[in-house]
């Protein structure tokens, strides 16, 4: 019973965080410019909350500054200095739209998000969304490492080189393209890893409860006899079966399970 009550509260807290994130991200686009200050104050509260949970805000700040540095020169060259404030507002709106998503991904566990998304999405979709959110730190780390490798190989993508817009293509070619290839490989491998653990073989999967203080150091018990995989009901959903190639050239016999 205790586990159930903890699970319920964590689930509802996650749901509330998801709704808040969607509402705040939407507000960033739909609120008039005058009302953005209020939204900034609310979003600062989110950042403070994430910092309280010991999350790093460096990447977020860096991303905001990069957006500003890239967008404002465009506004200056295309619309002149009078439109710089408009450019700033556009950057601010994009930043405020991204920030709630960052807060959500840094304060909620992907499996809990997946559980909440299961309320109105198929289990497979919610897993894909939750796994994608959980993958963000890995993607950032990989991108950083590929960037380092290519810088050392002489690619013109150092911060100094990127001051020249001619070199921006090199960033796409040397870093984003290999990263895309890596992501394609990774998604295939992760899908395989999930399938090997019976993902997709039950339309209504259960969910891991929140057990913050528990672990094998407390309650390890040798208990394998009643494993669900060995129960009659779960044998029906077992993905393991006797298989024979579907190739028409196959000549051997099929063994029925």
């Amino acid at each position: 019973m205790q586990i159930k009550s903890i699970k319920t509260s964590a689930k509802h807290y996650c749901f509330a965080a998801l709704v808040v994130s969607i509402v705040l991200a939407s507000c960033a686009f739909f609120l008039p410019a005058k009302a953005l200050l209020g939204l900034v104050i609310v979003d600062i509260a989110l950042v403070l909350h994430a910092m309280y949970l010991k999350q790093k805000t460096f990447i977020l700040i860096k991303m905001g500054l990069m957006q500003l540095l890239v967008t404002l020169p465009f506004y200056y060259f295309i619309h002149g200095s009078a439109s710089l404030f408009d450019g700033f507002i556009v950057v601010l709106r994009v930043f405020l739209a991204i920030l709630p998503g960052w807060w959500l991904s840094h304060t909620q566990r992907p499996e809990r998000l997946g559980e909440v998304l299961c309320w109105w999405l198929p289990a497979q979709w919610s897993f894909v969304i939750a796994a994608s959110i959980g993958l963000l730190p890995y993607i950032i780390k990989e991108t950083k490492e590929i960037y380092t490798i290519q810088c050392l190989r002489g690619a013109r993508i150092t911060p100094k080189a990127l001051r020249n817009p001619k070199n921006w293509c090199e960033l796409i070619y040397c870093v984003l393209l290999p990263m895309l290839i890596e992501l394609l490989k990774l998604s295939k491998q992760m899908a395989q890893a999930a399938q090997l653990r019976h993902f997709g073989h039950n339309k209504t999967p259960t969910h891991w409860p929140d057990t913050p203080d528990e672990g094998p150091h407390i309650n390890a018990v040798n208990n394998t006899a009643d494993h669900p995989a060995n129960s009659k009901e779960n044998q029906d959903i077992s993905p393991i079966f006797t298989h024979q190639s579907t190739s028409p050239k196959t000549t051997s016999t099929r063994e029925q399970q």
Partner: protein, 478 residues
């Protein structure tokens, strides 16, 4: 009791490539441990995939699996199998998919974690685990489902010696419980006491052998040579010794590390370097340490790739490291180097750095010839085998003939043939005046080096003598 069998399996990926399996046979009974060895790209991992997901392959022959057989597969790289952020949730993923009630999960997960020796709270972030611990976590994620057959893909390459010892102890207990194992491994001797059947995958068939040393028919694998590398490095390199580095050899230190505590800013230090260390031109240095000791972090810091590390104690070419300032004088091969490949052909991949640094493009052809990969010159790097991609990535760095070369776990996942090629060119570069720093989980028996640095118990120290006997062929560092 027979659990699984592959009978007369013929398989090829597509019409352009040859057969991967040619009348391949394998039978696994309860409580048996099989080990499959073979060259990189020969199809070892495909055997495991065929057993776990036969419906995904279009093959000829027969795959027989015992009714209600549960198979667990732990792939080579644990990082690509992690689906959650905490260890409890990760192990429970399979239980969720089997619709096990949430109340029953903690006990089952705890049992699986205990079995692999991860006595940690469920909420432990997976990001805090070392690679060896992650590998054991992946085994726990399979054990929680009580498989009767467990498949392991190249565990040795991912684990340090302690990790291998711990894994071996775990596998002994699993075999005692009548679980069956199939291990794909380039280094079968690491698990010799467990193994009932040794197999060599060659020519699309599994050939049985009884001794720890594979009895590969040399003629069937191009360029393969079972003989160990001779101790005298010079004799290996004579064939291509005519290639000269573009830079003049200097005997002043390329890299100096002053005594300091190394670690990330605002975090506990990873290790202490109590005495000064240095690497000179023509020196080869081996840096060893267990998973998570800080080897990769140190190498990345040396090349200027870690902005959140205090670099005051490190000097490279007499300067504090900064990314991109050393140009072609510095080469760095990261782990999983195939991720750096992006050009449409092998030759353009090699020539990329040469063009950027204004070096002769012919150096690309020279290095390809040294690695005996000239026939792949116009192939797409993305269609090559793991070992070939690994060597191409290395070649793209080596072709600039850097004055100092850093390599992070460069032999991981390579078979004897590719390992031999890599060691050969490393020795050549070293003899031509290139300082080399290699990070590895363990001492590499075929490698000659002048210094051995080791990270252990939070200390980076220089070992008094190399543990490698081949090192006697080289002058010793002061």
């Amino acid at each position: 009791m027979q659990l699984a069998s592959l009978s007369q399996i013929d398989f090829q990926f597509n019409d352009r490539q040859g057969k991967v399996f040619n009348q391949l046979n394998l039978t696994v009974n309860q409580g048996e441990c099989h080990c499959i060895d073979g060259p990189t790209g020969s199809g070892k991992s495909t055997i495991l995939k065929l057993l776990t997901q036969p419906q995904a392959f279009n093959y000829d022959g027969e795959v027989k699996l015992a009714p209600s057989l549960l198979i667990g597969l732990v792939m080579q790289d644990p990082n690509i199998q992690i689906l959650r952020q905490t260890i409890g949730a990760e192990v429970a993923f399979g239980l969720e998919n089997l619709a096990v009630p949430a109340q029953q999960m903690p006990q089952k997960v705890a049992t699986a974690l205990t079995r692999v020796g991860l006595n940690l709270p469920f909420s432990t972030p997976i990001s805090q685990l070392s690679l060896g611990q992650k590998y054991r976590l992946m085994i726990a994620a399979q054990l929680v489902l009580s498989p009767q057959l467990l498949l392991l893909d190249e565990p040795w390459a991912q684990l340090d010696d302690q990790g291998v010892a711990e894994l071996s102890a775990l596998l002994v207990s699993l075999l005692a419980d009548k679980m069956s194992l199939i291990i794909i491994e380039h280094q079968p001797q690491a698990f010799n006491p467990l193994i009932d059947f040794h197999w060599q995958l060659t020519g699309g068939q599994l050939i049985s052998y009884s001794s720890p040393e594979p009895v590969t028919p040399a003629a069937s694998i191009k360029g393969f040579n079972q003989a160990p590398l001779p101790p005298q490095a010079a004799s290996i390199t004579s064939a291509h010794a005519s290639v000269k580095p573009p830079q003049t050899v200097s005997h002043s230190p390329l890299l100096t590390i002053a005594p300091h505590h190394f670690g990330y800013l605002a975090q506990e230090p990873l290790f202490e370097c109590a005495r000064p260390l240095s690497v000179s031109a023509t020196e080869m240095v081996l840096l060893t340490g267990s998973n998570g000791a800080g080897k990769s972090s140190l190498l990345t810091a040396i090349v200027g790739g870690n902005s959140d590390v205090d670099l005051a104690a490190i000097e490279l070419f007499g300067q504090r490291p900064k990314l991109g300032i050393f140009k072609h004088r510095l080469g760095f091969l990261m782990q999983r180097p195939s991720r750096q490949l992006f050009e449409p052909t092998v030759i353009s991949e090699l020539q990329f750095s040469l063009k950027r640094f204004g070096l002769p493009l012919t150096q690309a052809d020279t290095v390809l010839a040294q690695l005996e990969l000239s026939h792949l010159k116009h192939a797409s790097p993305h269609t090559l085998s793991y070992g070939q991609q690994h060597l191409i990535a290395f070649a793209s760095i080596a072709c600039t003939y850097p004055a100092f070369l850093l390599l992070d776990d460069p032999f991981a996942g390579l078979d004897d043939e590719y390992m031999k090629k890599l060691i050969k060119i490393l020795i050549e570069l070293n003899q031509q005046g290139c300082g080399i720093l290699i990070a590895s989980h363990r001492v590499i028996p075929s490698l000659s080096y002048q210094q051995h640095w080791h990270i252990s118990h939070g200390q980076l120290t220089q070992q008094t003598r190399p543990t490698n006997t081949h090192a006697q062929a080289f002058p010793y560092a002061d």
